[in-house]
Amino acid sequence: MDFFNRFAVPHPSFLIYGAMVSIAIAMIAVVVGITYFKKWGYLWREWLTTVDHKRIGIMYLIVALLMLFRGGVDAIMMRYQLSMPDNTFLDSQHYNEVFTTHGIVMILFMAMPFITFFFNYLIPLQIGARDVAFPRLNALSFWLFFMGAMLFNMSFVVGGSPDSGWTSYFPLAGNEFSTSVGTNYYMIAIQIAGMGTLMTGINFITTILKMRAPGMKLMKMPMFTWSAFIANVIVVFAFPVLTVLLAMGTMDRLFGTNFFTTDNGGMDMLWANLFWVWGHPEVYILILPAFGLYSEIISTFARRNLYGYKSMVASMVVISIFSFLVWAHHFFTMGQGPLTNSIFSITTMAIAVPTGVKIFNWLFTLWKGKIVFTTPMLYSILFIPLFTLGGVTGVMLAMSAADYQYHNTMFLVAHFHNVIIPGVVYAMIAGLTFYWPKMFGFMLNEKLGKWTAWLLSVGFVLAFIPMYITGLDGQARRMYTYSESTGFSTLNMVSFIGAAIMAVAFALLVYNIYYSIRYASRDIGSDPWDARSLEWATHTPVPEYNFAIIPEVASTEAFWDSKKKGHELFKGKIEKIHMPNNSPLPFIMSCIFFVFGFSMVFSIWPVAIIALIGILACLTYRSFEKDHGRYISVEEIEETEAKLRGAKK
């Protein structure tokens, strides 16, 4: 019985039991549904074993949206708990678990897959390629990430969630002070997902460097591709730090080492340092592709080329270098002394300069344009002032002496939500709306879309601006409750109302998808926004080989040139196309990784060893496998092209 006891949640509550039941029902419903509609074969052939970057992208999107829901529910619970003084909706242990998982889910399992979705779906199309450099590896990246995400979410119902904050500072996260398996989940699930991300980074750098269409020099790449390239370079340099860090944390928790403990020479500050050496670049990994999307959207709907292309690229390069030089600003209060603080204070503020350049370039892109207010454009326009507000509070936080007062308060919480929500989340929704017709062949409803954007912004302002104020009034972050006498209650109530409005906005987004699936016109052609770059030059829906003939490029806006200046994109004739084969190996291997991770979390060594052998067996199989891909014949391509051209009208 003892063996099974440890799988129980240590602090069960009505909410957790409710969630268990609903998860069980949902899973049964999915299984029954797939069986009833006889879709197992379809699922296996077309999705689970696929190596097509577009399908993998869409799977990333689905995970991101699911995780957005999970993280959003966490957020609402926190805001509700704090909306009234001495609220008893959540107890302290519960609240700690909720804010911990909210942070991890939103950053690593929502924002990361969301941008990876854009990498996957867009980059090969934007650079005129047929797939990524390593399609099989790409599938493995996704499935590892997926299994990591699922393992992490399992902590909610099996064994208990992590409760030491998303930063998981030791010694709090060590065995001494965090006794449930929650932090084991943190260490191992993020490790597995992180491996996937690292492979994504390698894959996309290679893709962008080697597989661009003829004529597309580096300085002729679309801005999103540039931003993705730089973000992936950061991934490759930052994620190994996380790998080592999590490995050390795992060893502390499972094997009794003393890296971060309070005795035998352990050093808690090392965790904080290494965490942020990864953690700070990580936020730039999220924000740079978002900047790229805004650049695409703003120039499309200003009907103008992007202003200051070169300085846009240069500023991203500078940001990526500085992202590795600022980590100590996350703990100015650790007692490093004024010299160190001054250095990190200055490097941090310096990031404002290239970021400012980008803001001004977007403003100058609107200059002399012909601005059309579509939904994606609305998000981009709302982004500029809201993000500026978040950016300047970042400069305030960078003043290290003043940071002694902001640190660990709601002011900080307000700041990073103020950059992440308008910066990343708006970009994700704007990009989703913008590229929806490319993926699915119909547009999302514009009216509902604009309502969503406005509601989200009003909710955002109400939810987060009050936090700046309560922070300056002494409300520390991560407090599960406060007393009436502190005077925080009114503003926290406003925050809750704001969060509720944001929840309504997200619900509206979901309704919009449903509504548009039912009622939107399917007759929109392949270029509904009158866009500018290569991804719009192919058919909708995109054939599996993307381009029947590889396009030739002469400027940053090849498709626009072909529409306006008579640039000929597709020269030459159709030839047979080499495509990679589907493979079940990534999926199977990731499933074994899941088993491995789970048995590590609970220290079930025999299973872990068997799983490890399974993983090695998969690698062995892969080493000896002969797989030269397959060819799509000219007739088949011509047939597909004719059909799609017909559909296009």
């Binding site: 007692g335 200055i346 308060t409 302002v461």
Partner: protein, 307 residues
């Protein structure tokens, strides 16, 4: 749509303005000591400067949106192709650089101020108080006065105070917003926080860094009083309080919440602060150099067993 947007920003600006100027001052912006004053001044300065930037960006945005919206232009207007102009971009880089240089100077100056004996108290010998945290309490040891308190802090007003911070457990952060910003208390090094209270009064103090289940209630009260009252309190404690023993201290360290209590003697005698020298292992986490002058205080308690 634009009206909605303007409304939204008016709301933000108004809310911030009312609260900042409003009925009850925010703790951080209501400083009662020189360090907090330095920080509050920096904060207000940066708020004004940053507001100016936000307003400029907003103004440019609204202007271009109104002037260049499609419905304001003729059907056949074709936006020009503009690559970018070195002059304009130089200005866009130059102005932020000037702002950043200005703020950097302010920031560096303040860094050295808050890490030194508070301004105006340089000629005094500071009173040293060891503040250590355990789950979820604060222990204040007064080695000179030879007393120890739990969860409350009495300090003389108008006197420089040097807090020596460390932790029996997770990283915590010692914070008295009205006297000055916070600093971490950690288990294997001692950090120093220089504060002073310009006025008598009661202030809120707390642990600001998440440290587990009892974190929210991990607070303490600070009372600043005249030197005479403080001396009187010290004498009273010596007359009435029990001595702090090793066993009693172990009991106090047990996780949980406790009310206030007072002892004679300090735990530093049997459970000294982790003031060992780290060598040159990591310059990032080395203790600041200017702490050296206080080493005589703790020299006798320095324990080398840890190495």
């Amino acid at each position: 749509m634009r009206i909605k947007m303007k409304l939204m920003y008016l709301t933000i600006v108004c809310t911030i303005a009312t609260v900042l100027a409003g009925c009850e001052p925010l703790l951080v912006l209501d400083p009662k000591g020189p360090q907090a004053k330095t920080q509050a001044d920096d904060i207000m300065l940066s708020i004004w400067l940053m507001s100016a930037i936000v307003i400029v960006v907003l103004a440019i945005l609204i202007f271009v949106l109104i002037k260049y919206r499609a419905s304001n232009q003729s059907e056949d207007y074709e936006p020009p192709h503009i690559e970018g102009s070195p002059l304009v971009e130089a200005i866009c880089i130059g102005i932020p650089i000037i702002i950043v240089i200005f703020l950097s100077i302010v920031s560096v100056e303040s860094n050295y101020k808050v890490e030194a004996t508070p301004a105006g108290y340089e000629d005094q010998e500071p009173i040293v108080i060891y503040a250590s945290s355990s789950n979820w309490k604060w222990h204040f040891s007064y080695p000179e006065q030879d007393i120890e308190t739990v969860n409350y802090l009495y300090i003389p007003a108008n006197r420089a105070i040097e807090f020596k911070l460390y932790s029996y457990g997770p990283i915590t952060s010692f914070w008295i917003p009205q006297l000055g910003g916070q600093k971490y208390a950690m288990s294997d090094m001692v950090t120093t926080l220089h504060l002073a209270a310009d006025a008598e009064g009661e202030f809120m103090g707390r642990n600001a860094n998440f440290s587990g289940a009892g974190f929210a209630e991990n607070t303490f009260e600070v009372t600043s009083m005249s030197q005479a009252d403080f001396d009187e309190w010290v004498d009273e404690v010596h007359e009435t309080a029990d001595p702090l023993t090793d066993e009693k201290f172990e009991e106090l360290l047990e996780p949980g919440h406790l009310g206030r209590s007072t002892y004679t003697g300090t735990h530093l005698e049997f459970s000294p602060a982790p003031e060992h020298d780290h060598g040159s292992t990591d310059s990032e986490v080395e203790e600041p150099k200017q702490e050296d002058h206080t080493d005589h205080e703790s020299g006798k308690q320095t324990n080398h067993d840890n190495h």
